[in-house]
């Protein structure tokens, strides 16, 4: 396996980590104004991800940095091409990041309520837009022979990518609601359970609709064949099992299963892309690939060594932090945020 392939896999891993982790904290942010009826309930919900959200967001930053380092042309074409969508997402993320820290710094219901809606919008927008963005990577966007995106903002809005956006939005929200069933107590726990049960069916239906549309709108499955292999099938089976697991209140397993759905769906998209990283709808030969978009072999080699040393360390201490703060959050305890 060459270094280009290794880095393609590594970036896929970073996106899996990002969607798995930040997926549930986007979901928690989206559910915040609806699940929490009074201030301390909302605080408990925020505190359930208080320790983690910032570290989770670094997965996105690292994925972006890794794209820049390993496939600079991918980074350049994608980020300049999807310009306005990304500006909107960044505005949402800026406001969201500040909101967690600032919300409880004043004892004022109006202040609290405003920040709660900032957290909602700040979580809703990226949860939707990431689905739109990833769908467009594989569906293809107009790219010329100089790797320049030649479309505009509206090119990105098509039925396939919009369904992809709704799918990621619903899936992350479901993932977040199940996370909350593992982290909250009493009334909040009951509400989270109810929401998770309600969200499962729409999330599943939209996800399958997205897959079916994928047969028509992308070459992902024609590439993978009529039998697409174990990865997408496992993703499908996992989301199906979630409904049952929620009914019998095995939320821990349900969380594992939404996690598997997110991870394996992401892997499916990356498998469909390979060896391309962005499909050109203008001319297939102008697609960006892991070869024409990549850094030099030397840089890839240096970065591989760096990743080999530091990724395991990061995983270890981040897992450790989840272990330390594994306890449920109750409205009756001391709340930092």
């Amino acid at each position: 396996m060459d270094f280009n392939t290794i880095w393609f896999i590594l970036i896929a891993v970073l996106f899996v980590g990002f969607f798995f982790l930040e997926g549930f904290d986007y979901g928690v942010g989206i559910l915040l104004p609806f699940l929490g009826k009074e201030d301390r309930e909302r605080r408990a919900i925020i505190n359930s991800i208080g320790t983690f959200w910032d570290g989770n967001e670094v997965w996105m930053l690292t994925a972006g940095g890794a794209m820049f380092a390993a496939f600079p042309n991918w980074y350049a074409t994608l980020f300049s091409g999807f310009y306005l969508a990304l500006v909107v997402m960044l505005l949402a993320l800026i406001a969201r990041g500040v909101a967690f820290e600032y919300r409880s710094k004043k004892d004022d219901p109006v202040w609290h309520n405003r920040w709660d809606w900032v957290i909602f919008v700040g979580s809703f927008v990226p949860a939707l837009l990431w689905g739109v963005a990833i769908s467009n990577l594989i569906r293809g966007v107009p790219i010329d022979d100089k790797m320049n995106f030649t479309g505009n903002f509206f090119t990105l809005l098509n039925p396939y990518s919009l369904i992809g956006g709704v799918a990621s939005l619903l899936l992350f929200t479901l993932h977040g609601s199940i996370f909350l069933t593992l982290k909250l107590t009493d009334n909040l726990l009951e509400s989270a359970r109810k929401v998770a049960n309600k969200l499962w069916l729409p999330a599943t239906v939209v996800l399958f609709a997205y897959v079916i549309l994928g047969y028509f709108d992308t070459d992902m499955f024609s590439k993978l064949g009529i039998n697409p292999g174990a990865v997408p099938i496992i993703a499908g089976l996992a989301i199906l099992s979630v409904g049952y697991l929620l009914k019998i209140q095995k939320e821990g397993w349900a969380f594992v299963m939404t996690g598997i759905t997110i991870a394996f769906s992401t892997i499916t998209v990356f498998m469909g892309l390979f060896p391309r990283v962005m499909v050109s709808s203008t001319n297939p030969d102008w697609s960006l690939t892991i070869y024409n978009a990549s850094s030099s072999p030397y840089t890839l080699q240096v970065m591989s060594i760096v990743a080999l040393i530091f990724v395991p360390i990061v995983l270890a201490y981040q897992a450790w932090s989840y272990w330390i703060f594994r306890k449920r959050v109750s409205t009756k305890q001391k709340l930092e945020y």
């Binding site: 208080g50 972006g64 500040v98 600032y102 240096v302």
Partner: protein, 460 residues
């Protein structure tokens, strides 16, 4: 305005804005870690109060630093895609390493620190704030490694129409990095020092001789003094380095039109930038040579000579950065730096006299000095980036070629307005919170925190 001009304005605004908060994060994280170490060692409650008080202000600042940092990571691809294609092979690596090595560390351990009081063993809790401080400062090293390449390219070859890395160690041992990082680091220490001084002064005016703020004031004074002194000393080394690797930058800083030997240093120049001549100037003979070489002779090259050299090397073109703005940003930075040093020195001497006593006027001076490092940080960056123009990567790649060719002026105008608005709103909110928390009665912090929780517990 065209897309390039708008993109440059946007870069300047979001980057200078981001760097209001970064130095406070770098300096204050270490300060809080030192305070907590003092508490851990002595068990003195005053140090615990200090840790909590300054820690809260640190967090309010940190949040906005992190949030505005996301734009920094993405804007190269978004607005400078041609730069990203040309430089990605070199520039992407330090950015990715910064995220992997530094951002994960500071964010994860900050979470542990905020939520870990009384929940993790004291030793781990103390270690976590140190890891936050180390993580933040590591991130500065990596981003400055990237910036240093733009000032002084090393360890590369031009291949396949772009700059490719040939020697990773050359990039991280770049001489420019190791004069620039200490300068940024001690600037950050000074910034945090003056912030601590200013707020302590404010509290001491309200309630004289409060033990915790007397301690904080003394700490802030020493911290500001160490930072200011070293930032000035390193700055001198840096200027000497600049004469060697970026002579045009030095000529611009001094508005030195023609080469001189010995070279005079300008105290005040009112010049005619178009015709490249002085209208009115006060100069100290030989002083620029001294600044450059530590002796009163030696040639310092002028703008006209360097322009000619550049034309020979790179072909016809304008290789002169904007002179007036380079000249004045440099002077404002240096002036603010020396003023900081003076104020920190006088304050420290007075603070460690047997009787701790300051005149109200001095408290006022100390309070408003809070803005000196902010001004010096901003003008310093404006200088170092603007006086490198027309290059983004010195001698290799120009700003006009760097901008995204597919992003329209209208799109950049939209993002420029949107970022500016959200940043302005956040600034107002952040300053409001800073004032609120700077104003807190330190003896009631623990009571406040405890009461909230007790009331809830009894209700339940």
């Amino acid at each position: 305005m065209d897309a390039l001009t708008l993109a440059r304005w946007q870069f300047a605004i979001v980057t200078v804005y981001h760097f209001f908060f970064v130095p406070i994060t770098l300096g204050l994280s270490i300060a809080v870690a030192i305070m907590q170490t003092a508490y851990y060692r002595t068990g003195n409650e005053a140090y615990k109060k200090m840790t909590k008080f300054w820690g809260k202000l640190f967090l309010i600042n940190f949040a906005i630093g992190v949030a505005t940092g996301i734009v920094q990571e993405f804007q190269f691809g978004m607005n400078w895609s041609q730069y990203s294609r040309f430089m990605g092979d070199i520039f992407g690596a330090p950015l990715a390493i910064e995220a992997l090595l530094a951002f994960f560390m500071e964010s994860t351990f900050l979470g542990i620190w905020i939520f870990g009081w009384e929940r993790v063993p004291k030793k781990f809790h103390l270690a976590s704030i140190w890891l936050v401080a180390i993580g933040s400062n590591l991130s500065a090293i990596w981003i400055l490694a990237a910036n240093s390449f733009m000032q002084q390219p090393v360890g590369y070859a031009i291949r396949n129409g772009r700059a490719e890395m040939t020697d990773f160690f050359a990039i991280i041992t770049n001489g420019h990095l190791w004069v620039q990082f200490p300068h940024v680091f001690f600037g950050a220490v000074a910034t945090a020092g003056f912030l601590i001084l200013a707020i302590s002064a404010f509290q001491l005016v309200k309630k004289e001789k409060h033990e915790v703020f007397k301690k904080s004031f003394k700490f802030g004074a020493v911290y500001a003094l160490v930072g200011s002194l070293l930032v000035v000393l390193v700055g001198h080394t840096q200027a000497q380095y600049m004469v060697k690797v970026q002579p045009m930058k030095m000529a611009a800083a001094e508005a030195l039109w023609d080469s001189e030997n010995p070279a005079a240093m300008s105290l005040f120049t009112f010049g005619d930038e178009k015709n490249r001549k002085d209208v009115f100037a006060i100069k100290i003979p030989g002083a620029l040579s001294f600044l450059a070489y530590n002796k009163f002779s030696g040639e310092v090259k002028g703008i006209n000579n360097l322009q000619k050299e550049a034309e020979q090397k790179f072909g016809p073109g304008d290789y002169v950065p904007p002179i007036a703005i380079s000249y004045w940003t440099f002077r404002i930075m240096v002036g603010a730096g020396f003023l900081m040093l003076l104020i920190a020195l006088l304050t420290t001497i007075q603070a460690f006299k047997s009787k701790f006593e300051f005149k109200p006027l001095w408290y006022k001076i100390v309070f408003w000095s809070l803005f000196l490092p902010v001004i010096a940080n901003s003008t310093g960056w404006l200088f170092t980036e603007l006086a490198r123009q027309p290059w983004t990567v010195f001698g290799l790649f120009q700003t006009a070629d760097s901008v995204s060719n597919t992003v329209t002026a209208g799109e950049v105008a939209f993002s420029l307005i949107a970022y500016t608005l959200i940043y302005a709103v956040l600034m107002v909110i952040m300053i409001g919170l800073m004032i609120k928390f700077a104003n807190r009665n330190i003896d009631e912090i623990e009571k406040e925190e405890a009461e909230v929780d007790n009331s809830v517990l009894t209700k339940a």
